[in-house]
Structure formats: C-alpha cells, structure tokens
Amino acid sequence: MRYAFIPALIAALFASNSQAAGLDVKVSVPRINAAEYHRPYVAVWVETPNQDIATTLSVWYSKDKAEGKGTKWLKDLRQWWRKGGRDLDMPLDGVSGATKPVGEHTLSYTEGKAPLNKLAAGEYNLVVEAAREKGDRELVRIPFSWPAKKAETLKASGESELGAVSLELKP
C-alpha cells in the first residue's frame, strides 16, 4: 500500500519538466431559460487559416436517439459538418461523446496523441460550434500560434448558445 505512492511521487517530481505540450479547452454550456431545453450538440476543432479542419478534437451529440443513432442532426453543426465532419464515421473513439449539461467542461488534448496528434507549426483557430434543438447555432473562434512559445490562456465568449470559451496553450 505504502509503495503504491512512490510512482505517483516520482511522477509528480518530474511533472513540471516532462509535461507534454498540448491544448486545454474550457467550454461553458450556458443556462438557457426554455420551456423545452435540450443539451446542445457541440463540435470543437482546430482550423487552418483557409478554414479547413486540421483536426476534430471533440463532438458531443445524442447517441441514444433512435433516429439514425443521433447522427441525424449532426449536420446542424453546419460548418463542422461541411468542412469535414461528414467525412468521419461516428461514433469516433476519443472524439465523440454524449451531450453535456449546463456548466464548464474542460477538455485536454496532448500533442502527439489522438485527436490532436502532431500539429505543424503555423497559425490556427480553435473553433467551437454549438447547435441546440429548438434553439440557435453559434460559432466561437480563438486564434493561436503553434507551437506555443509560453504557457498562455486565450479567451473568447459566445452570446447565445455558448458561454465562455478558453484555450490554454501548453508549450
């Protein structure tokens, strides 16, 4: 029992040095007063300057729905769908998941590992798109450079379907 802590301690000692580069994304799903509220579908991706998808990071949708196993409404994440979502087979391991409740959700992506993988040096946007049944659709973009020169947190906010969105760059 005692010895079980030792690997953890060693890991903690080296954590500051060996921490892998990556992105932490915080997405807030806002509270919306609606007689009939459905959690939004959300897509998070990295976009190149010419608005292509470098990589899709996360997709939240309702997998339980009978119709098309929930994929029937994926097209409502309109930009993500057109730019490349339609080329992916859902569900996608490590990317797709169930819709999330109101509140802040933290997503961590590590360079060299799916779904972020290796990102070529350059300018990018982090894009978060949300679409809600009986609600609206919104896109939030945060520009960033990669690789990150220093640890930095970039912030943006939606106005209707998305609350605060932040991007923590980990060099």
Binding site: G68, K72, L74, K75, W81, R86
Partner: protein, 272 residues
C-alpha cells in the same frame, strides 16, 4: 394505374411549360422540384414538392406530374418514388435515401411538339418522336415541328458528396462546387454542356425563392461564355431556382428545323 395515360399527361404538363418557356420567357410558367432537405447526416426520407408556377417554390398554379422522375443512387441504381400524391396545386412524393453519397433526382425528356392542319382543322401534338411519326398524316398542311430536350433536376447528399457524372444528352451542368456544398457568399461557376460539349450562348436565369416576400425579385440573367461558363452570385442562404435555355439545329426528325433545350435546377444554399 394506367402508365401510358399518365406518361402522356406528364408529357403535356412538362412540355407545355417548356413550350411557353422557349417562346417567351416573360410569359413563362416555370416548373420545379423542391426537396425538404438536401444535406443529410444520416439515412432518411426526404419529401419533394413538384409544381408549375411563376414564383419558384410557391405552389400556386398547377401540379407537375412526376411519373418519369428518376432517382439515381450513388452506386448508379434507381431508387423508387414513394407516396406519390397529385394535388390541385402540387405533386408530392417521398424518397428514402439509404446510401452515403449524392443522389440525382432527375427528369429528362426528348420529344417533339408540332402543329399542322388536317382538312382545314388545326391539330397539335406534343410527345415522343415515334408517336409523332404515327400520328401525323402524310397530307398534313402547314406542318411546324420542333424538337425538345428538357431536363429537370436536383440533388440530395447523405454524408460526403460524391462526384457527379454527365451523360452527354441534352443540356447538362458541370459545377465548380458540388451542388450540395453551397454556402452564402461563395459564388458558383457552372459550365453548361449541350450533348456533352461546353456551349456558349446558353441563357441562364437564377432566382432565390420566397419572392412573394420582397418587391424586387433580384433575378440574375446570364449568358454562358466561350467555355460554356457562367458565374452565379449566391449572396444569401435559401433555395435557388435556375432555368437555362438554348436553341440549336441538331434535330433527329427531318420535319423539324430547331431543337429547344431546357435545364431546370433547384439548389440549396446554406448560411456560413
């Protein structure tokens, strides 16, 4: 159902519309297909309206018969029309889109329209060439014959769009952007082919639907350049109706001197 009768009825409605179109655009009744969706992320049914009217997608005049509409699946097979219902103002039908890729919903007709006098009585005919040859008497007077090649179509995609092939008959398009991949603010270049060859001088008119809610229709009237191309502006999201017309002299019947070609297309443009 009496298919022969319905085919003839179809010929009349589509060809009558075409006849008006080619004789005078100002007095034309357009015809169109209106899909309930064009971009799908899962296999499902889509329902269609089909009608003849002056105002694109506003069914306020006559239904369009759909007996010869063909739905071609991405693998080349034909998908059947279901729940066909002809009302006073529109025809509706459903199609089940099961495969991934792009479906072509199309109606292509070749034929003749003719008028003549028989014992002093005026006669008219619209239909297929073979039928015309049987119908017209050897002693027909003041015989006027012209050929027609009309295509009406739209596209629906499940998942990723798949490439579209042309078939070399009548008036067709080659699109710079896949027709199920259009967004507001991004212009579209269409190349028009006549019997498979890029053709200059094709007259193209494009109107966004919902014209009853604005004073200016804002139609674009264009003519294809030497490469057979036109550039179409798509400033706003919505359903767009495109009508292209051309007249040439490539005829199959010796009595005819002209052929009128028409191409009618419905395009959906989504917001950015």
């Amino acid at each position: 159902m009496n298919t022969i009768k319905s085919t003839v009825k179809f010929s009349l409605s589509l060809m009558a519309a075409a006849a008006v179109l080619s004789s005078s655009l100002a007095q034309a009744h357009g015809y169109w297909l209106l899909p309930s969706s064009t971009v799908l992320s899962a296999p499902q049914f889509v329902t269609f309206d089909a009608a003849v009217s002056n105002d694109p997608f506003h069914f306020n005049h006559r239904p369009l018969a759909v007996d010869e509409v063909q739905v071609t699946a991405p693998d080349g097979s034909n998908q059947r029309l279901q729940n066909v219902s002809k009302g006073e103002l529109r025809t509706t039908f459903d199609v089940n889109f099961e495969q991934k890729g792009t479906y072509r919903i199309s109606n292509y007709r070749e034929g003749v329209r003719a008028s003549w006098k028989e014992d002093g009585q005026p006669k008219r005919f619209m239909g297929k060439i073979e039928e015309f040859k049987q119908r017209v008497p050897a002693n027909a007077q003041e015989l006027k014959v012209s050929e027609i090649a009309n295509r009406l179509e739209t596209f629906v995609t499940v998942g990723s769009p798949s490439p579209l092939k042309t078939n070399g008959h009548g008036l067709e398009i080659v699109s710079s952007v896949h027709p199920n991949d259009l967004v507001a603010g991004e212009p579209l270049t269409l190349q028009f082919l006549v019997d498979g060859k890029p053709t200059a001088g094709v007259e193209v008119e494009v109107i966004r639907g919902q014209t009853r809610y604005r004073n200016q229709k804002g139609e674009q009237k264009l003519k294809t350049d030497a490469d057979g191309k036109v550039k179409i502006e798509l400033p706003e999201a919505g359903m767009y109706w495109l009508d292209a017309d051309f007249v040439d002299h490539k005829v199959k019947t010796k009595e005819a001197s002209e052929r009128s070609l028409a191409y009618v297309l419905t395009l959906e443009v989504l917001p950015q």
